[in-house]
Symmetry: C2
Subunit: 137 residues, 2 copies
């Protein structure tokens, strides 16, 4: 179990709630989950873990750099395991599907633009809101 090491490296004790939450985030078809999603999944699995703990653990994971928190439209955050490679997101407004993408040129342009305005780029958030292309009439 590599996840135990990840936790230890982050200075966090290896506990059941943390392992379970990491497991759900890592091994889930949909990679972008809200705290509520994870909480429900835990209940389904028969785990007796409180919603407050889910939030607390996710916040710790975020500080440790294990997960990313995104604020898509909709009033709640979604979390995603950090697997090292940066990417941005596309959210389908009809299905809620989330697609990841990366574009070197956009990345470069962002850095240029920041510099041109006298700033250093620290982070960015790019979300495309899309809907399926109509193939027919």
């Amino acid at each position: 179990m590599l996840q135990r090491q990840e936790l230890r490296k982050a200075g966090l004790k290896v506990t059941l709630p943390r392992l379970k939450i990491l497991e759900i985030l890592a091994g889930h078809g949909q990679r972008h989950l809200s705290a509520e999603d994870i909480y429900k999944e835990l209940l389904d699995t028969g785990e007796d873990i409180g919603l407050a703990t889910v939030y607390r653990v996710l916040t710790q994971f975020e500080s440790a750099g294990l997960v990313h928190r995104h604020n898509f439209e909709g009033g709640h955050s979604v979390f995603e395991v950090d697997e090292g490679e940066h990417h941005d997101h596309m959210v389908c407004v009809e299905t809620g599907d989330v697609v990841e993408f990366m574009n070197e040129e956009i990345e470069r342009l962002q850095k240029d633009i920041a510099h041109k305005h006298g700033y250093e780029l620290i982070d960015h958030s790019l979300v495309l809101y899309v809907k399926p292309l109509k193939k027919d009439a």
Copy 2:
């Protein structure tokens, strides 16, 4: 007063709270204000307008396309009058300053990327988090 017409065109009655809020949004040094900011400004001006009304009016303005709502980091929304020209934002994490910018190439690339994934681009949100460039050592 062109603002009266804008309100009427939006199907909203011309009322004092709406005019005042539009006025603050339009004629303010800082173009990006939270509901709370606007509320405080109203109090300072001696207007007796409730925070709930500020939120209600801003939401109506948003539906009418008069203002844009942004969700920068920090847990609260900020509002900005829509003056027709699209632009994205750069937020300085040290000073809180907000800089607007527009880059045709990024806009184009976004559309391309959406298409490439079988989607039509409806909207997007791009925020650069930056800090001032150090000129010295």
